[in-house]
Symmetry: C2
Subunit: 147 residues, 2 copies
């Protein structure tokens, strides 16, 4: 699989678009994260990102709160923080999510516009399919009682 390797190149901080009228504006989102451009997103990469149960969980949670980005820590997943960081990175590098720093937190949101533009219906199909499957067999979180 020719997944994109981790490139050490970092873009300059161009996160100064949010004009802050507040008094406190010491430092805001100085670190930048590199996301693939819309044209760079590959179907295989997106499908690979979707093919992990943990990441499917994340995507579903993100889709449920599409209007508001969420920090990495609001997810109640049975993995360590390191693993979570890994999964978020996979999702970001494959163009599935957008991550921006906001103070110490990092807010995540689905790149719905890009995915819908590139692969119409795909994200919805996957989300619907996942919901349907979770209803059938549970998703390993709180559906443990199926007998």
């Amino acid at each position: 699989m020719g997944a994109p390797k981790h490139s050490p190149a970092f873009d300059e901080a161009r996160a100064d678009d949010e004009a802050d009228e507040g008094a406190v504006m010491t430092t805001r989102t100085s670190r930048a994260l590199d996301h693939p451009a819309r044209e760079e997103i590959r179907l295989e990469g997106v499908l690979h990102a979707f093919s992990d149960p943990m990441r499917l969980l994340i995507v579903r949670a993100l889709a449920a709160e599409a209007e508001a980005a969420q920090s990495c820590s609001v997810f109640d997943l049975p993995v360590s923080k390191s693993t979570l960081t890994h999964h978020f990175r996979v999702l970001r590098e494959n163009g599935v999510i957008n991550q921006i720093y906001r103070g110490t937190a990092k807010m995540n949101s689905l790149r719905r516009d890009d995915l819908d533009a590139l692969f119409p219906g795909l994200l919805d199909s996957v989300l619907t399919a996942y919901a349907s499957q979770s209803a059938r067999i549970g998703d390993g979180r709180d559906q443990a009682a199926e007998g």
Copy 2:
């Protein structure tokens, strides 16, 4: 990936043909291949099966000739026979395709009914997305000349 591990005692299908117990034997395809039942098909597995370029090629070819199953050898893929067998197995074990023996040949067909029933729209989304992406950047087969 935490999805289905490969058990060491998995490939028992060939010895389990049970043809002697009054089987009708209308055809000589005594070798049986184990496919997951519809309820056994997992979304992660299907997405994983789709997340490989070679398998995407196979799925597209199968979808193009949906009415007729095709043997493994009609695919003109730049991989060895062993690798092809591997990919077909992944597709079969994840519920994407159906394989039946027909003499020395093995006919492959998409499990469209099952996939559509379980995950409505997913297969079409993937096929459409793949066609669209192939038109954009080529898939290494027939879109090589874009200039």
